[in-house]
Each structure stands twice: as structure tokens, then as C-alpha cells.
């Protein structure tokens, strides 16, 4: 058998294969150029087969989270102070970071990882949050009211709690690790914009409603050793050391460590803005996750 393929036939074959293959895959439902928002399954252990909260991505909407994990959008919206939003179901995980961007006095970040932690606690699947992850006090209340928190888990998340008020955008308190009581603790608030060190304005409050969370401010940035708690089946945990890059850290401060502009730009993947720019603000304006950039920059510290 002998057969030739000449240029016209090869050109037609290539175009035909691509067009035909794509059309066929569309017919079969295999063609997708956007995430189907299906979280990967846990493959081992007692939670094998369940959706993994660690796979929640910034592009997941609250509706996607409900679809994957069965946590109602209403509960998610309540937890993250989004009840007043017109369409909370369509809010994406990465939008949370921008929403809580006013958390200037805190070293804790509310964003995608906070949502992962909340979902993990809600569905009872172990998840190790980042050391800088914060959880709104509203989320704590939702978990508490729903009876989702075991005592160990409650202890574990206390240092991560951030008091939010009036729908969530304004942050008024920052949790610390001073091992406060779980019930009716004194709460100390730090006004937005208050410098993170050197005397936060402290004012005791009633502590909000329902299950109050302990919150104290040490006047300096939060410190922690390793805080972990088990729930028997595994638990949310957070470990960490003193964060170096905070909500108000500028690029200039990072450069002052001895890190070069080129190193920073490599992390950013784009030119560095003026040195005085606040890293977190810049990340928000660029649509980047501050937590990811911060962690990468932090690794540059000599």
C-alpha cells in the first residue's frame, strides 16, 4: 500500500482534525475552557471520597462551594458578612480579600484560605490553614450556632478570629494568642488604620452577640507559636511564626531587608510599583492574592 499526503491535504487534515475534534468534544460535553469548579476528592484516610476544602480556589463562588461541600450559601454569606450583598452566591472566594482589605491593623488575612478553613470546620474535614489566615468573628458564630465546633477546634481558631462589624468590610478587632476564655471574653478593638505597633487604641466592648469570641490586642503584631487542635478526626490547625509582611508593609521595607528589586519583580511577575506602595493595596489593585505574594516575598528575607 502506498499513499501520499501533499500540502493541501495535510493542511485540510490539520484544520479538520482540530475543528472536528473540538466540535465532537463539545457534543460529548468534554470541552471546557473554564473551571467546572469541581473540588478534588480526598483519596486516602477516613475522609476518602469527600471533596477537599483545600482545593477551594479563588475563582470559586459561594454557589460553587455549596455545590461541592453542601454548605448553604446563606450560611457562607452570614459567616463572611455578605448578607447585604445583592447576589452573595456569585461572590468569589478571592473577592473576600478585597472586601476585608480594610484590615490595616491586623496581620491576619481574610480571603480564600479563610473560606477553606470555614468550610473545613463546617464539614468536619481536617485542614491546615496558613499562619496568616484570619477568620471573621461572624464565621465563628455561624459555626458555633450550627454546632460544628468541637472544643479543641474552638481553641485552635481563637487566635485567628478577627472581629468585623457592620457587614464585614470594616474591621474592628484583631485576635491574638493570649489564650482568652471562650465565653464572654473581653474584647478589644483596634480602629482601622491604627498602627499595628506602638499602642493600639483599646476599648473594651461587650463582645458582640451570641458566642463571643475572645479578642485581645497586644499592641504589637500578633505572635504565635504553633496552635493546633485535634478533633479526633483531625482538626483545623494553624502554625506560624511572627509574620514579617503585614497589611501595611511597603515594598520599600522589603527592599530594606537587602532583597533586590529584581527578586521582588520575579515574585510579582511584573514590574515593581513605586517603593512606597503598600504591598497589600497593590495586590488588591492588581487582582492578586495578597497571601500568595506575601508568602513568596517573605521567603526572600535573608
Amino acid at each position: 500500500m502506498k499513499g501520499y499526503i501533499k500540502s493541501p491535504l495535510l493542511g485540510a487534515l490539520i484544520v479538520g482534525l482540530f475543528a472536528g475534534g473540538i466540535i465532537l468534544s463539545q457534543v460529548l460535553g468534554w470541552w471546557a475552557t473554564e473551571s467546572r469548579k469541581v473540588a478534588r476528592k480526598i483519596t486516602t484516610g477516613q475522609f476518602a471520597g469527600k471533596a477537599d476544602p483545600a482545593d477551594i480556589r479563588g475563582s470559586y463562588s459561594l454557589a460553587d462551594v455549596e455545590k461541592n461541600f453542601g454548605v448553604p450559601v446563606k450560611e457562607l454569606a452570614k459567616a463572611f458578612g455578605l448578607e447585604q450583598e445583592k447576589a452573595p452566591a456569585s461572590i468569589r472566594a478571592k473577592d473576600l480579600e478585597g472586601k476585608f482589605a480594610g484590615l490595616s491593623a491586623s496581620t491576619l488575612e481574610i480571603g480564600t484560605d479563610s473560606l477553606r478553613l470555614f468550610v473545613a470546620l463546617y464539614v468536619g474535614i481536617p485542614y491546615k490553614a496558613k499562619e496568616s489566615t484570619g477568620l471573621p468573628d461572624t464565621a465563628y458564630r455561624v459555626l458555633k450556632e450550627a454546632g460544628k465546633l468541637k472544643p479543641e477546634e474552638e481553641q485552635a481558631i481563637l487566635p485567628m478570629l478577627v472581629r468585623v462589624s457592620g457587614g464585614g468590610a470594616a474591621v474592628t478587632a484583631l485576635a491574638n494568642t493570649s489564650a482568652p476564655a471562650v465565653t464572654t471574653p473581653p474584647a478589644v478593638s483596634v480602629a482601622p488604620g491604627t498602627p499595628s505597633s506602638g499602642g493600639a487604641s483599646t476599648s473594651s466592648t461587650a463582645g458582640g452577640t451570641g458566642s463571643n469570641i475572645a479578642a485581645g490586642v497586644s499592641g504589637s503584631d500578633s505572635k504565635s507559636g504553633t496552635v493546633a487542635s485535634g478533633s479526633g478526626s483531625g482538626a483545623a490547625s494553624v502554625s506560624g511564626t511572627e509574620p514579617l509582611i503585614k497589611g501595611k508593609t511597603t515594598f520599600k521595607e522589603v527592599l530594606a531587608w537587602g532583597v533586590t528589586k529584581a527578586q521582588i519583580e520575579k515574585v510579582l511577575g511584573r514590574p515593581m510599583p513605586p517603593e512606597g506602595t503598600v504591598i497589600k493595596d497593590w495586590c488588591t489593585s492588581q487582582g492578586l492574592e495578597f497571601g500568595t505574594i506575601r508568602d513568596a516575598l517573605q521567603k526572600l528575607k535573608p
Binding site: 499513499g3 501520499y4 500540502s7 495535510l10 482540530f18 473540538i22 468534554w30 471546557a32 520575579k266 511584573r270
Partner: protein
């Protein structure tokens, strides 16, 4: 005959430009979509979503965890399947006919060829070239391994293809921009430098040359040994000494064939099966040799001694 050769070359160039234009429009549309603007009839997928190499780097995660690497979607797997099917049939035709980065390298190469004429694409000493060509397998191994370990699209940090179509977005790493610049500048001296030395996808697709159904074949019976095929090959393959081209660098561009470079019809072809055996000095059955001793005339014209087939310098 020359007209036919031009047609063949134009068909490939047209196909390349069509895919290049498509990718440019999709990339533009993807970025415009964030401003609520849409180019009609063009998709707005992210380039990661429609890159067949994304399917390759995701395979490990897909098999072990059932999910794809972030930013890669099912479309990449579909395209990977199409490209593999094409490669089994006709080798890395994707590289020679579709890949937009390869097309841009070729376009730059046309400028380089005008500048350097015969020295173009001959700057790298063969001794170095021989070993440098293995680099792309190292890149392939590194990309597949690190992607599997980190579950992140690590190649995007160095990918000149992504950089080429997103350089205006501010999303491209400096490393990738540097590699893109080096690739474009290098294309002025060397034909398809990234494809030859660094492209991990080209490395993988090149392996299909060992098993492809339709191969580039040379008919020794009608070959006049003028080495036009060697000179035409952008990947510096010595076609003139091979009966079947199984070199992993072949990109099925067809530049060496009787449609384009080879002056004797039905002598270098993309085909399955074997050429009909013919005596070395007999006229071939092709149209150009139909009147008298066509091959002999060709040989004489190209300065080749028929008896021993050595090129007269």
C-alpha cells in the same frame, strides 16, 4: 513547477498565520472580556485553557487525583489528544503547521535569512548543536516533574509562548519575557531556536517521529543528491542520506519534499508505503521525468555525476 512549489509553501504559511491570528484574537478577547468587551465569533478562553501542553503537564495529577493543574482545563486534554493523533499519523505537524510561537520564529527567521544569507541557520557548530538538542528533554523532564510535585503551572514562569501573547497584560514574569526576547533575537541567527533546543512539547512530539504512520521518505532511485532538501530543512536534518526521516527533530513542514525544495518529483514525499523501485538512471514516472531521461537531465543540471552520485563542487 515553481508555481506549484509556491502554492505548497503558501498553504502551510496560510495555515500557520490562521492559527496565529486565532490565538492573538483569543488572547485579546480574554483580556478585553474583563472590560466587558467581546470580539464577535472569537472565544475568550485563557491561553492556558487551550494549550495542548497543559494537558501533558496535568496528566500525573489527573491520573492520581482526578483533577487538573490550576488554570488548565479539559479543553487542554482534548487538544492534547488531537495533537497526539496527528503526531501518530504525520509526526509533529503541530510544530510545523500550527504552533504560533514556531510561526513567529519562522517569520523572524525570514529576516535573519535576508541578513545572513547562506550563513543563516549555520552559526552553531555541529559538535555543540548535537548535544544542545538534548536540552529540551531536560526541560520536558523538569516541567513534568515539578508540575506533578507542586500542582502548579510552573512552566508559565518561563514560557515564551504565553509571554508572546500576554506581554501587554503585566501578567508575564520577567524570566519568560527574557526567554521570549532571546528566542526572537536568536531566530535572526538560527531557525526555530526555541523549538530546537528548549521546547518541551516539541521534545515530546518529536518522539512520535519514531512511530508515525506517514513519514518523510526519499527515493534513492530518483534522488540526484543535490542536497536541496538538506538546505531547506529548518531543523538541520540531513534528509539526503536517509530513506525514511525518523529524526526526532522533524516537524513535518514539508520544506524538503518534492512539493517545495526537491527539484525531482516524487523523490522526497510525506507518504506511507514504499516508493516503487526504479533503476537509478531511469526516468521516473513523475510528470517532470515523463519526457526522456528527466532524472539524468536534473542531475546534469544540478552538477551531479550520475555514476557515483557525488556532488561536483
Amino acid at each position: 513547477m515553481k508555481g506549484k512549489k509556491n502554492v505548497a509553501a503558501r498553504i502551510r504559511l496560510s495555515t500557520q498565520l490562521a492559527f496565529l491570528l486565532l490565538i492573538v484574537l483569543i488572547s485579546l478577547n480574554h483580556n478585553l472580556s474583563s472590560y466587558g468587551i467581546q470580539i464577535p465569533l472569537v472565544g475568550s478562553a485563557s491561553l492556558h485553557a487551550i494549550c495542548p501542553f497543559g494537558g501533558v503537564v496535568s496528566v500525573y495529577q489527573f491520573v492520581t487525583l482526578g483533577s487538573l493543574v490550576q488554570k488548565v482545563h479539559e479543553a487542554s486534554l482534548v487538544l492534547m489528544g488531537i495533537v497526539f493523533f496527528l503526531a501518530i499519523l504525520a509526526g509533529p505537524a503541530f510544530c510545523g503547521w500550527v504552533c504560533p510561537l514556531g510561526t513567529v520564529e519562522e517569520l523572524m527567521g525570514k529576516v535573519g535569512r535576508r541578513i545572513f544569507k547562506k550563513t543563516y541557520n549555520a552559526f552553531v557548530p555541529p559538535v555543540w548543536d548535537k548535544y544542545l538538542r538534548y536540552l529540551r528533554y531536560g526541560v520536558l523532564a523538569w516541567v513534568v516533574y515539578t508540575t506533578a510535585m507542586t500542582m502548579q503551572l510552573v512552566f508559565v514562569e518561563v514560557d515564551p509562548y504565553y509571554a508572546l501573547f500576554n506581554f501587554w497584560t503585566g501578567e508575564v514574569s520577567l524570566t519568560a519575557m527574557g526567554i521570549l526576547a532571546a528566542t526572537l533575537i536568536g531566530s535572526l541567527f538560527i531557525e526555530r531556536p526555541f523549538c530546537k533546543y528548549l521546547c518541551p512539547y516539541g521534545a515530546l512530539l518529536g518522539l512520535f517521529n519514531k512511530v508515525r504512520v506517514f513519514t518523510i521518505q526519499r527515493n534513492p532511485a530518483t534522488c540526484i543528491n543535490c542536497k536541496a532538501c538538506d538546505r531547506a530543512c529548518p531543523m538541520n536534518i540531513t534528509v539526503s542520506t536517509a530513506d525514511h526521516v525518523r529524526d526526532t527533530q522533524c516537524i513535518t513542514c514539508l520544506k524538503c519534499t518534492s512539493e517545495v525544495a526537491c527539484p525531482v518529483s516524487e523523490t522526497v514525499e510525506l507518504m506511507v508505503g514504499r516508493f516503487t523501485a526504479q533503476p537509478a538512471d531511469a526516468p521516473s514516472a513523475g510528470p517532470d521525468q515523463s519526457q526522456g531521461s528527466g532524472v539524468e537531465k536534473m542531475r546534469a543540471k544540478s552538477g551531479v555525476q550520475t555514476a557515483n552520485r557525488e556532488v561536483v563542487k
